[in-house]
């Protein structure tokens, strides 16, 4: 089966890969680019563990074909921290214990960061609905919501 050649940007770096037409962006990230931060929890767009942004838009990478990445800018959890400086959300998630097992954490961080970029002052309801596509089975969401709200408050203060 012939493969498709794709040139794209991931976390700011230019990358090229060959993928099967059936492979998803998530498969490409994990199996070809060795970026295993995005997780597959369902493969059907229901759990958000595979969340990435494509040209700034939040998407489930399991629902996107690798071939669709041509010419796009992809951002994953691996690109959230800046060198050794963590993003405020990352620090707050550790401090609040907003993760138990941590399998949902990469997707939730990507989604929450995307929310705060659009809406620096979200209500609890907005956070809950924005993250409604990200399943967490461990925490009951309480500490996740608090961590996101509190990060937003800190970031507003700092800016």
């Amino acid at each position: 089966m012939s493969k498709i050649h794709v040139t794209t940007k991931v976390n700011g770096d230019e990358v090229e890969f060959l993928c099967d037409p059936r492979e998803t962006m998530l498969d490409v990230l994990r199996d070809h680019l060795n970026l295993t931060g995005a997780k597959e929890g369902c493969g059907t767009g229901d759990c958000g563990a595979c969340s990435v942004t494509v040209d700034g838009r939040l998407v489930c990478s399991c629902l996107m074909l690798g071939a669709e990445a041509e010419g796009k800018e992809i951002a994953t959890v691996e690109g959230i921290a800046n060198g050794e400086a963590l993003h405020p959300l990352q620090t707050k998630f550790i401090e609040y214990a907003a993760l138990q097992c941590g399998i949902c954490t990469p997707g939730i961080l990507v989604a929450a960061k995307n929310l705060l970029e659009r809406e620096p002052d979200p209500t609890e309801e907005q956070v809950r609905y924005w993250l409604a596509g990200n399943l967490c089975r461990c925490t009951g969401y309480d500490k996740i919501i608090r961590a996101v709200m509190d990060t937003a408050a800190d970031m507003r203060e700092a800016s």
Partner: protein, 751 residues
């Protein structure tokens, strides 16, 4: 053992330096940056990808499996069927093998029949479609009550234990009975007796991380296995038996685990990946899809239950009877006995009778799910208690306090309680502002208690000191909720060094003695106790070295604030010797200093919790929303309070899903209808309120710091508390879970 003074732990400590603080977890950074390695994140050079052929039928004889077309596909390297696994297994090992690879009969929709390894997962999946299986369809049954009827199809003959009362259908495979007192006299004493039938559907643990394994096994019988599991030692033992090699020749490493809740306490993919690797002579990676997880791993049992309780006008329970029928899939071991044992645990009863039936049906083999058996039993019993309180116009918490189990109460299943914290939890509930808050229209408030045994289990821990005065600890219980932090906190307390100077690793099976699975809420209790004792073992050796240096008797040295000190003025005048000073010289003074502990601790200490919930029901759509939720639970001693709260909140959230929405839906054809998260819908962030927590601390006499497990009890009260709230909101007693909108609308219509 009782506490000598209030506020003192069992070793006389009145305060802690580390235990009880909210430190950052050691795996936090890895997990927020995406670099933590979970099950599916491993790769190996030359690795193949596996896929599984599964039965689309609920019950069918397998007449023939033709794999020739699949084998001929370019890129396919190995195909295995039951013939590639060990023969002559017995008991649970045979059951596990039969579950992961069928022999002659497909017992449920999704039952594995063959596995294939190929150079890519796409090829492996294509090859699965090329396998031709000839079936002879057999009649099936998926409902627990139907499976017990005389004309029900027999799932597997010859499985019935001798304990099962005569004349019962062969699908009833085990029976449990317990209780004490005169039931007739008890019910005769009551002013009101209520008897009701309850059902609950199977719910899946719903861990977000799929099962995944990467295996290497050679013809020399030596293997390596990486997998996400709650217990890699049981994986080692089981897989070795299933593929017919020696236990010690298989080294199993536990990955970071993305949730388990009991569902990752057994094996599914692991033996298949090993067999494929042996046959192909290449490493083989296998990862389940979500629909495979829902169809073919273990959800919890569905249940059918009858409860009868008598109460006097002033709220005294005079007798309680419960019958629990639990469906465990096509295998024995549904937690019917545990359901029965947990059912009346919160009550001090003179007359109580409990029975449990384990029933087989054409469903996947049930697996543990957080306090297996207890949540459904609590749902049934606490619903009837609530109904009695309402009918007799009694306060639900007052009434529970009046009948509460305490130290010295004899439980229905035999034991007499040691120190327990139910009364303290009920008092905390009574005092909580939630109980006084006004309710809006169509909103009900529910209260319920719950119980879990907690567990000790086989445990080994090793602790090694480094020359710079830091410590590394090897535990054998995978960290499913922050236990590495808790172990380090407990060790820091004993060693008297900083939390940051201790690193805890989940060691692989080749580097530590056997450890039971991370289940039964046992890790902070048992691995914690072993960590404390391993640290004490090292402290003893540190004191010996100090004694040697000072030229005094080792008994004359004590350990305090991270230093060896002379025990008293008679021991001699020496400056305190810090840990680091001793470890720096350890090479010259007798060699490395380590501490070890191996045991099967028995003092886990049972745990109780009380939940309060406000639920609103939309009378037009039948949809329930949870408006307010409070969890109150005895933790004995909270080692890391934030993680204790997290366990309480997570248990409550899973209970909310089970109570309102989650269920296995089987079609007429016996196939599972809802095999993706869209249809098997677990609670999302917008479904839930904040979940308030109150940590009650009634120390467990079986642990030096008083720790009790906290992982499971949190899922015991929610089904009942929510059912009581919803019943109050709609004015109809809800007796069947989940209380989905159609069921609520039906109840409202029949009102």
């Amino acid at each position: 053992m009782a506490l000598d003074k209030p506020g003192e732990d069992y070793e006389g400590r009145t305060s802690y330096t580390h235990v009880g603080t909210r430190v950052d977890r050691p795996d936090g950074l890895d997990k927020v940056t995406g670099r933590a390695k979970f099950g599916a994140d491993a790769h190996a050079p030359g690795m193949l990808h596996g896929a599984i052929v599964r039965s689309p039928h609920a019950h069918a004889k397998i007449l023939k499996i033709d794999t020739s077309k699949a084998e001929a596909l370019a890129g396919v390297k190995a195909v295995v069927t039951r013939a590639d696994f060990a023969t002559g297994l017995e008991g649970e090992e045979w059951n596990v093998l039969e579950n992961v690879m069928a022999s002659d009969t497909a017992l449920y929709d999704g039952h594995a029949l063959a596995a294939i390894a190929a150079t890519s997962s796409l090829i492996a999946r294509d090859a699965v479609k090329l396998v031709e299986v000839e079936y002879e369809l057999l009649p099936h049954v998926t409902d627990v009550d139907e499976a017990m009827k005389p004309d029900a199809p027999v799932i597997r003959a010859g499985q019935q234990s001798k304990l099962v009362p005569e004349g019962m259908h062969p699908n009833v495979v085990n029976y449990y009975e317990g209780g004490h007192g005169d039931m007739d006299a008890g019910f005769a004493e009551a002013d009101l007796v209520i008897e009701r039938h309850f059902t609950t559907e199977a719910a899946h643990q719903g861990y977000i991380e799929p099962h995944a394994a990467l295996a290497t096994l050679g013809a020399d019988g030596k293997g390596e296995l990486w997998c996400c599991t709650q217990g890699h030692f049981i994986v080692q033992k089981t897989c070795a038996a299933l593929v017919g090699i020696d236990t010690s020749q298989l080294r199993v490493t536990a990955s970071e685990i993305g949730g388990g809740f009991g569902g990752k306490t057994t094996v599914f993919l692991e033996p298949l990946a090993l067999a494929l690797s042996r046959k192909s002579n290449r490493p083989v990676k296998m990862v389940m899809s979500r629909s495979e997880i829902l169809r073919a791993t273990g959800p919890t049992s569905s249940a059918s239950m009858d409860i009868k309780i008598g109460m006097t006008k002033d709220g005294r329970i005079t007798a309680g009877k419960g019958v629990f029928r639990l469906q465990g899939g096509a295998f024995p071991d549904a937690p019917a006995g545990m359901a029965a044992e947990c059912s009346f645990a919160p009550y001090n009863l003179n007359a109580v009778s409990i029975e449990g039936y384990e029933v087989m049906a054409n469903r996947p083999k049930q697996a543990a799910y957080r306090a297996p058996g207890s949540p459904m039993a609590a749902f049934a019993v606490e619903s009837v208690v609530d109904e009695l309180c309402k009918a007799l116009e009694l306060d639900p918490i007052e009434t529970r306090l009046k009948n509460a189990s305490r130290e010295g109460t004899k439980a229905a299943y035999g034991p007499t309680w040691d120190r327990i914290g139910l009364v303290e939890c009920l008092e905390a509930a009574q005092a909580h502002p939630h109980m006084q808050a006004p309710l809006r229209e169509s909103e009900g408030r529910g209260v319920a208690a719950g119980f879990w045994f907690n567990h000790g289990g086989e445990t080994s821990v090793s602790l090694a000191l480094s020359e710079d005065g830091t410590a590394q600890i090897s535990v054998g219980t995978p960290d499913i909720g922050g236990s590495r932090a808790s172990m380090a906190l407990m060790a820091a307390e004993i060693l008297g060094i900083e939390y940051e100077n201790i690193r805890v690793t989940v060691a692989d099976t080749a580097t530590l003695g056997y450890n039971d699975v991370s289940h039964g809420s046992r890790v902070t209790y048992a691995s914690g106790l072993a960590t404390i004792n391993a640290a004490k073992d090292a402290v003893g050796k540190l004191c010996d070295r100090a004694a040697q240096r000072w030229g005094i008797d080792p008994e004359a040295v004590i350990w305090e604030d991270g230093c060896a000190k002379p025990a008293g003025p008679n021991a001699g005048q020496f400056d305190p010797m810090p840990l680091k000073e001793i470890t720096q010289r350890m090479g010259r003074t007798g060699g490395p200093i380590s501490g070890h502990f191996e045991a099967t601790p028995e003092g886990a200490g049972v745990s109780f919790g009380v939940h309060i919930v406000d639920a609103h029901v939309d009378r037009e759509t039948g949809k329930t929303s949870i408006d307010r939720y409070t969890v109150i639970q005895d933790a004995g001693k909270a080692v890391h309070p934030t993680y204790v709260e997290g366990q309480f909140q997570g248990g409550a959230a899973q209970g909310i899903g089970w109570a309102l929405n989650e269920e296995y839906v089987y079609g007429e054809d016996g196939r599972l209808q809802n095999t993706v998260f869209l249809d098997y819908r677990i609670p999302v962030a917008s479904d839930l309120p904040m979940i308030d927590t109150v940590i009650v601390e009634v120390p467990n006499p079986g642990h030096p710091f008083g720790v009790r497990g906290v992982g499971e009890t949190g899922i015991c009260p929610p089904l009942a508390a929510i059912a009581n709230a919803v019943s109050g909101a709609v004015g109809v007693r809800m007796t069947s879970l989940p209380m989905s909108p159609p069921k609520i609308l039906k109840a409202l219509k029949e009102q």
